[in-house]
């Protein structure tokens, strides 16, 4: 239910179709980002900005968001808007709580996926078979899931040792892996605080120290989905249902089936995201523990332009800033200010070269504002650090040229036999 961007294109801006697509590899962007962070770290001495600890927390904070975003990707690529991600994640947490407690963590994950799929089945039934507005169905599923999880928690966990009406007993996490030699070596290297080297080391340390197998599962799911959706006939058919279901239908594709598969997969992945929150992040099921991550995941998917690489960036941006503010606090967030200043300056130069003078001046003014803030203070007050992930996301979106393009038939009602 979002408006087609083209009517809103700022006057005079070229239509997206005509803008030559220039793709800079995601890896280069990441490297530039890391170099920038590293420079700031060395200059300000705020080493927590990318310490192994911060990075590990960032990964942990990003994974559930990325899974939610991936779930959204599956569904929306097949043309079904899924605002019910939050609900499917909630169902995932309760599934993980129940099965994880009785049968162990891996059963917990599978239980979570099945529970997520139950929510998804409802969504698919409503939107695909009955052609109900996708937003209405999604909102309803969020309400139902919230109620169901609370009701089931009360029923299932009330009498258990260590459990209660709103929470499960403690749950075992799936295995996490530490690569002995590398982990320590990298942490040593990180502590040297060298430019770029230490930053890369802390990244490596983050993924070799206490890496949850569920994180690995998430990575496999993301890469696997990218390959499946963009490199196979199955993926082509599924995506065609999101771009032009009538065209797909006239070519003999069973659109209902693909939409169903997509939404169910979406539910399973969202459920896995819920399992991560319950089993890995928290070690317990609690009512309301998803804390709106389904919505954040949706935002990350839109941020990522409905693409796997993009949604990973969106989730990482959010997860990183969220982890940073909680773990490292005001000083590290303070260091972010100068990064923002540098990025803004870069954007201003770009905009100026493109002839967008007003935009360039606006960026420049904001950049100067951030610079003043940075140089006149030593830390960001704790009251504001909490806003970091949200403000950063808004800022990045506001600065980035918006060339978002959702699947053409995303959210539209489709009924069989209406082609032509």
């Amino acid at each position: 239910m979002t408006m087609a961007p083209e009517e809103l294109r700022p006057a005079g801006a070229p239509s997206e179709a005509l803008v030559p697509r220039r793709r800079i590899s995601i890896w280069i962007w990441l490297l530039i980002g890391l170099a920038l962070i590293s420079a700031v770290r060395v200059l300000t001495g705020a080493h927590e900005v990318d310490s192994a600890g911060t990075m590990r927390e960032a990964v942990n904070a990003s994974v559930p968001i990325a899974l939610a975003a991936l779930a959204g990707l599956w569904s929306e690529r097949a043309g079904v808007v899924n605002i019910g991600l939050e609900g499917m994640m909630i169902l995932g947490t309760i599934g993980a709580g129940y099965f994880g407690y009785w049968y162990g963590p891996w059963s917990g994950i599978i239980g979570a996926m099945i529970f997520g799929m139950i929510g998804a089945a409802l969504h698919a039934l409503a939107t695909v078979i009955f052609g109900v507005d996708h937003i209405v169905s999604g909102v309803a599923i969020n309400i139902i899931a919230l109620g169901t999880a609370a009701f089931l928690a009360d029923t299932w966990f009330s009498g258990l040792q260590g459990g209660g009406p709103t929470q499960s007993p403690p749950l075992d996490a799936p295995l996490s892996i530490t690569v002995p030699g590398i982990s320590d070596a990298m942490i040593d290297l990180q502590d040297k605080h060298w430019f770029l080297v230490s930053d890369l080391a802390s990244l490596v340390a983050a993924v070799t120290t206490g890496l949850s197998t569920m994180t690995i599962l998430a990575i496999v799911l993301i890469v696997g989905s990218a390959l499946l959706l963009w490199r196979t006939a199955f993926g082509l058919r599924l995506r065609s249902c999101g771009e032009s279901p009538v065209a797909a239908e006239t070519l003999g594709v069973n659109v209902y089936r693909y939409k169903f598969i997509a939404v169910l997969t979406s539910g399973a992945i969202a459920g896995a995201g819920g399992a991560f929150i319950a089993l890995v992040s928290s070690g317990i099921y609690q009512n309301g523990q998803t804390g709106g991550r389904g919505y954040i995941g949706l935002a990350a998917m839109i941020f990522g332009n409905w693409r796997p690489g993009g949604l990973v960036m969106g989730s990482a941006l959010f997860g990183y800033t969220d982890a940073l503010q909680l773990r490292a606090g005001g000083e590290a967030v303070h260091a972010l200010l100068i990064i923002v200043t540098v990025i803004l300056l870069g954007v201003a130069v770009l905009q100026f070269r493109r002839g967008q003078k007003i935009a360039a001046i606006t960026s420049l003014v904001i950049a100067i504002g951030f610079a003043i803030w940075f140089f006149s203070t030593d830390t960001v007050p704790a009251d504001f650090t909490r806003m970091t992930p949200y403000v950063t996301t808004l800022l990045v979106l506001g600065l980035a040229a918006q060339r978002l393009r959702m699947p053409a038939a995303d959210g539209l009602r489709y009924r069989r036999g209406q082609a032509g």
Partner: protein
């Protein structure tokens, strides 16, 4: 014709009735599966509400209604404004702080505070609008982010200006001459209808007039159904986006006011949250129609009120009612679809039946949707 009309009316009523029945059946099945008392549930939910409960239902419905309207304006524009939650929190906080200063005498203070709340809500909402039209930021993302920022911001400001009483932290109390008295609607009840609940009625009328009678409302609906046609017709869509979000935000600004001036008299850590999200469901349940939203708000409020007694009277977890609410939302839209399809099939059969061997095909169909 008369017979057909009867059937028409029957079909029109069929959808909501069907939906509520289905929702009840599903709820009862869940209760059965969980081993809870179905009869206890039904007798509690359908027990006649006492007078004081009726007042509660009306009070909460009026607040939900405002929230539903705020969301619905966005939906009519095809904008998914999830930001009502943040908008009303920022607005009610500002109004509470302003009204507490007592700079203005009694009712004037109230009126100015109401205007202030609307302005603040509108300004907060306009951030999303401006980001959308100038930078193309999806309002779904920006309003999610703005909700979180609003929460942090009000919490921060509350710590700055608030006073703590015991464990509670709240803004200063509004001077007594600016309290809006309740309306003793039912003499037997210990509680009263919130005075500013009337804002809901006014807003509802305003919404209906705006949408159906005013040129602006036409432009809004036109843009909502087809932005491309709107542009071609000369509507400034980018301006519409900002303005409609601001109107949505200004109505969102009203949400907290009946409570603020009628019962809590200050904004504190315990001020009711989550009304903005509930409003989305209510708006969708009411199909963004002013009367429909009123029914949705009353239904949700009724269920919530009755569920309060579930635990005490029937030993059933009140969470079950959340399930019922969600199922109703879903069931209503599905039921409408089913009834619509049934009606189409019926019509199709009638046309086919009327067709004598070479009768010309005659378009009798009306609005198909």
């Amino acid at each position: 014709m008369g017979k057909l009309d009867l059937r028409r009316i029957g079909l029109a009523l069929a959808a909501p009735v069907l939906a509520i029945v289905v929702a009840l059946v599903i709820t009862c099945l869940i209760l059965l599966a969980a081993g809870s008392s179905v009869s206890g549930f039904l007798s509690t939910i359908f027990s006649a509400p006492a007078e004081r409960n009726v007042i509660n239902i009306l009070n909460n419905a009026s607040i939900l209604y405002l929230s539903g309207l705020a969301a619905a304006i966005g939906f009519r524009m095809n904008l998914f404004n999830i930001g009502v939650e943040g908008q009303y929190q920022v607005a009610v906080f500002t109004a509470a702080v302003f009204a507490a200063q007592g700079w203005l005498p009694g009712p004037v203070n109230v009126v100015v505070s109401i205007v202030l709340a609307m302005v603040v809500g509108a300004v907060w909402a306009s951030i999303a609008g401006v980001l959308k039209v100038t930078r193309g930021v999806s309002e779904v993302i920006s309003t999610i982010m703005l909700n979180a920022i609003a929460g942090s911001l009000t919490a921060y400001l509350l710590r700055k200006v608030g006073v703590s009483t015991g464990s509670n932290l709240a803004t200063e109390e509004i001077p007594q001459d600016s309290w809006v008295p309740g309306i003793p609607l039912l003499p037997g009840a210990p509680n009263e209808l919130l005075g500013l609940a009337l804002l809901a009625v006014l807003a509802g009328i305003g919404y209906a007039v705006l949408l159906n009678r005013l040129k602006f409302g036409f432009n809004l609906r036109a843009t909502g159904t087809s932005a491309s046609a709107a542009v071609a017709s000369g509507i400034d869509v980018r301006r519409m986006v900002v303005v409609s979000l601001m109107i949505s935000g200004s109505i969102a600004g009203l949400i907290g006011l009946p409570l603020l001036f009628g019962s809590s008299h200050s904004y504190g850590t315990t001020f009711q949250a989550g009304i903005g999200f509930a409003g989305i469901a209510v708006a969708l349940l009411g199909r963004n129609n002013p009367v429909g939203i009123a029914f949705g708000a009353l239904l949700f409020s009724y269920l919530a009120e009755q569920s309060n007694l579930l635990e005490i009277n029937a030993r059933v977890s009140p969470d079950i009612v959340a399930i019922s609410q969600g199922v109703i939302v879903l069931a209503v839209v599905i039921a409408y679809e089913v009834v619509r399809r049934y009606r189409n099939a019926l019509e199709q059969r009638q046309v086919a039946a009327q067709l004598s061997s070479s009768a010309p095909a005659e378009a009798t169909s009306e609005a198909t949707r």
